[in-house]
């Protein structure tokens, strides 16, 4: 249930405006509670009433409020947001409102408007001509942008736990290695199917351990079967995946036998050099050099991927974005439409992705180390749900549950 407090005043008794307001709320399946009412003592005195209106959904409430505004009943918190111009490129005004990752609305010129592309730790920029509000990171602010300041005229809607899909209820948010994993994975598989049917995208964020543990082929199968719509990773995952495709090793270890290959330590550098010589992963696939693996599956299936660099990268591959701000922006570009994020065996990329995800995106973090999931939640991605599991067994079970 969502609620709003409205006030109506004037000659609301004699003009039957108040009974009409109450009737309209009930006609639209809302409920009300009269919080207080002050009735004029003389005929010429005006009266005032404050009502708390409840409706089943945000949409139903908005409809009620729209109808009531015609009768002069307006939300008590009828304050517009306070906008201040950004003083410099890349700098918010001092009193800027710092966002959460929850659905947020701002009131501008008397109308509530939802903030587009919500993510945590950003500011809200409003276009004064259209009223369009957009969540903007500090680095992308332009001098003179109108930025929301203070907290007046801002409405943040908490997630309704009860309305989340059953797998999320089932798992709860606590991280524990002592949960029946087969059940969890079954339910997650059902959730992936439901997402796909609903036309929502599934984002996978994967670390190089996916390849090291030999579970690359499972992820490849997920991609080929259309269960991955966006892939975020780093130089490591792509490099070792390509290394395994070209040499059959990951960091020099043969994936089929688990033994170190002779002179295998330089395989990953040779893989990087090969891709660099061809100009990129897509070119390598097109030229027939890269014929299998996770990255090959992405190119073949047209699944967009964003590879973000880090300070300890070898190479990197030409596809890796080394400017972190550009990398963040590239990740943001891929977020619209994402309904579920599956983060597998990665700490840094999971946190980086968690930072830019709206809380409405269901987030599942799989790691052998419970601390990673805890850390994700501590950094603000509280919607994250943890599965403490070895990557290989998790992906094997998931592909089996999906009958792949």
């Amino acid at each position: 249930m969502v609620a709003e407090i409205v006030q109506v005043q004037g000659h609301i008794i004699d003009s039957l405006i108040l009974p009409k307001v109450l009737d309209e709320i009930m006609d639209l399946n809302g409920t009300f509670e009269i919080l207080d009412i002050a009735i004029g003592k003389r005929k010429t005195d005006t009266s005032r009433a404050r009502l708390r209106i409840e409706a089943a959904s945000q949409r139903a409430l908005a409809l009620i409020l729209k109808r009531l505004s015609r009768l002069g009943a307006v939300p008590v918190q009828a304050q517009d947001v306070h906008l201040v111009r950004a003083p410099k490129d890349g700098v918010f005004p001092a009193a800027f409102y710092s966002t959460t990752n929850l659905p947020t609305e701002i009131r501008f010129r008397g109308r509530w408007r939802s903030v587009a592309r919500i993510e945590m730790d950003c500011g809200i920029v409003v276009d004064p001509t259209t009223g369009h509000a957009r969540c903007t990171p500090v680095a992308s602010i332009g001098k003179g942008d109108w930025v929301v300041c203070g907290s007046g005229g801002i409405k943040v809607t908490p997630l309704e736990r009860a309305r989340q899909a059953e797998v999320f209820q089932f798992m709860g948010s606590a991280v524990s290695s002592e949960k029946p994993k087969a059940q969890l994975i079954q339910r997650l598989a059902r959730e992936l199917g439901a997402m796909r049917r609903a036309g929502k995208k599934i984002l996978v964020v994967a670390g190089p351990a996916v390849v090291h543990t030999g579970s690359g082929p499972y992820l490849e199968r997920l991609i080929k079967a259309g269960f991955v719509h966006v892939l975020f990773a780093g130089n490591g995952l792509a490099t070792h995946d390509i290394e395994s495709a070209l040499f059959g090793t990951s960091l020099g270890v043969r994936l089929d036998r688990g033994e170190a290959a002779k002179d295998g330590h330089d395989h990953h550098m040779r893989a990087i050099n090969t891709i660099r010589s061809l100009g990129g992963i897509r070119q390598a696939v097109r030229r027939g050099v890269l014929k299998r693996g996770v990255m090959h599956a992405c190119v073949a299936r047209g699944v967009p991927f964003v590879l973000c660099g880090s300070i300890r990268d070898d190479g990197p591959l030409p596809d890796v974005i080394t400017d972190v701000l550009k990398a963040q922006e590239a990740m943001r570009q891929r977020l619209p439409g994402v309904g579920l994020a599956l983060m597998i065996a990665t700490t840094l990329h999971a946190i980086a992705t968690g930072n830019i995800l709206p809380a409405t995106v269901k987030t599942v973090c799989v790691d052998i180390n419970p601390a990673v999931v805890t850390k994700l939640a501590d950094r603000g991605t509280f919607q994250g749900i943890g599965i403490v599991s070895d990557t290989e067994s998790f992906l094997r079970e998931l592909t089996r549950a999906l009958h792949l």
């Binding site: 004037g10 039957l16 010429t44 005006t46 009768l71």
Partner: protein, 272 residues
């Protein structure tokens, strides 16, 4: 009683239809395909002016006509006059918002205090606000907003009752409601919603409902001066009988050119 009606002879503001035309469509009556005939409009207006001044002894002040604001002729919408104060209209449509500065300047020069209401709410003057005895009835939805009633009540220190209009054809209160005296009012009940009907019934002890045919001939858009009632010609004999039974004398006027813009007798005058 409103202070104005205590004056010995009633005074009105009118505006000559020099630049009157159908220049846009902002109500269901207006159609760019059905243009007003300028010479006929001028003659009809002059006949109304003559009737009000010569026959009924009203004092008329003239608001100078201006090109580009054809609806300035409908002075009833300029605002609401209360003593020497004008509560200026906030027109809903941009086409008519251009009239606001002209009206304001005229009233300033004429020595009135001009009051502006909160700009976020629309209010179209006497078109949507009529005194019924000590109570001001305000129509809302199509041209005025309900919340203005609270501000009006504060300015006027009177009871102001908003009623919702329900029929787009009767977009102003003065097209479907006409107070005659403290008890009697002409009205077209179906132009109001059920709450509005109850409110009108509570303020008018003797409501005189007109037929749909009379209502669409703008019978409610009438000017009342004492026991004389000036209204668009062509109303039914039944209405004539009902008016006469109440001691009222109807004066029919032909204003067909103004009906094309959705206005008749009452729309052409503002009580001063």
């Amino acid at each position: 009683m409103s202070p104005v009606s205590r004056l010995p002879s009633p005074a009105f503001l009118m505006c000559q239809p020099t630049h009157y035309a159908i220049a846009y469509e902002i109500n269901p009556w207006m159609s760019l395909k059905r243009q007003a005939h300028p010479a006929t409009a001028r003659a009809q207006w002059a006949a109304l002016h003559r009737l009000l001044t010569r026959t009924l002894g009203a004092r008329i002040r003239l608001l100078p006509a201006k090109p580009g604001v054809p609806d300035l002729v409908f002075t009833a919408n300029a605002g609401l006059v209360h003593g020497r104060t004008l509560i200026r209209s906030n027109f809903r449509y941009p086409q008519r918002q251009q009239e606001e500065p002209i009206i304001e300047r005229y009233f300033h020069r004429a020595g009135f205090r001009v009051v502006r209401l909160t700009s976020r709410y629309d209010f179209e003057g006497e078109g949507d606000a009529l005194w019924m005895g000590p109570t001001l009835v305000v129509g809302f939805r199509f041209r005025s907003d309900a919340p203005v009633h609270e501000e009006l009540a504060r300015w006027l220190r009177a009871r102001v009752l908003p009623v919702e209009l329900a029929d787009r054809r009767f977009y102003h209160l003065d097209t479907c409601f006409c107070p005659v005296d403290d008890r009697t009012a002409l009205w077209f009940p179906r132009a109001f919603d059920r709450y509005g009907r109850k409110v009108i019934a509570s303020v008018a002890a003797d409501p005189l409902a007109v037929s749909e045919r009379d209502a669409t001939r703008f019978a409610c858009n009438a000017i009342v001066i004492g026991r004389a009632i000036v209204l668009q010609a062509g109303f039914s004999t039944a209405l004539t009988r009902q008016l006469e039974r109440r001691g009222l004398r109807p004066y029919p006027v032909e204003l067909s050119e103004f009906l094309k813009a959705g206005g008749a007798a009452k729309c052409l005058v503002l009580r001063l």
